[in-house]
């Protein structure tokens, strides 16, 4: 039986610099991982999409999770929020997130922030795959 299997492209063994630079930079600033490998259109789209999702979540009075060892969902929420990199740090530094969710809109805002972080994880990994030649 014939099957279609996606074979990863040959990796570039001679990539100059730190191999994980796109992954780390892409995590810290949405889209920056794509920017440093020269994909600036993708970088701009990712920055706008993930950034808008995070800041709209803040504007909707969403909650920023803090490190915790209590409820499993709260721990997962914190892991998702961490994906926002420096945006999350800014939110914590300036105390932008709201502690208690009292409105349906604020609940949506909380989800926007978590999903923005998860999307940024995907984006950073994509930048890393482009960087090492696994994806073309």
């Amino acid at each position: 039986m014939a099957s279609r299997v996606q074979v990863p492209a040959k990796t570039q063994a001679s990539s100059p610099g730190f191999t994980y630079s796109a992954l780390v930079v892409g995590w810290l600033i949405p889209g920056a991982g794509h920017l440093i490998i020269g994909r600036w259109v993708r970088a701009l789209l990712l920055f706008v999409s993930i950034g808008a999702m995070f800041w709209l979540g803040i504007a909707m009075q969403g909650m920023l999770y803090v490190p915790n060892t209590g409820n499993v969902l709260d721990m997962l929420g914190f892991a998702g929020d961490l994906g926002n990199g420096l945006f999350y740090a800014l939110g914590r530094i300036f105390d932008l997130g709201h502690g208690a969710v009292q409105l349906a809109t604020a609940d949506y805002g909380t989800k926007f922030i978590v999903v923005a972080g998860l999307l940024n994880f995907i984006s950073a990994v994509d930048a890393h795959n482009l960087r090492i030649g696994r994806k073309v």
């Binding site: 993708r42 999409s49 809109t105 995907i122 984006s123 994806k135």
Partner: protein, 59 residues
């Protein structure tokens, strides 16, 4: 405070998530646009369908 309607929130969510999915899950620009549009339609379509199902259950 930004307080969109429930449906407006869905459309915003679908738009941003679809852009990221399109860029990260496909390789060529054409495939990215097609997959992004597919994801957007699925996000919005499933919400509309689920809304009608809930409306029917309530009846």
């Amino acid at each position: 405070m930004f307080a969109p309607s429930h449906f407006a929130a869905v459309l915003l969510f679908a738009t941003f998530a679809s852009v990221v999915f399109g860029i990260t899950q496909r390789s060529t620009p054409k495939a990215m646009v097609r997959y992004g549009a597919y994801c957007w339609v699925m996000f919005a379509g499933v919400v509309i369908a689920a809304s009608w199902v809930m409306w029917l259950i309530k009846r």
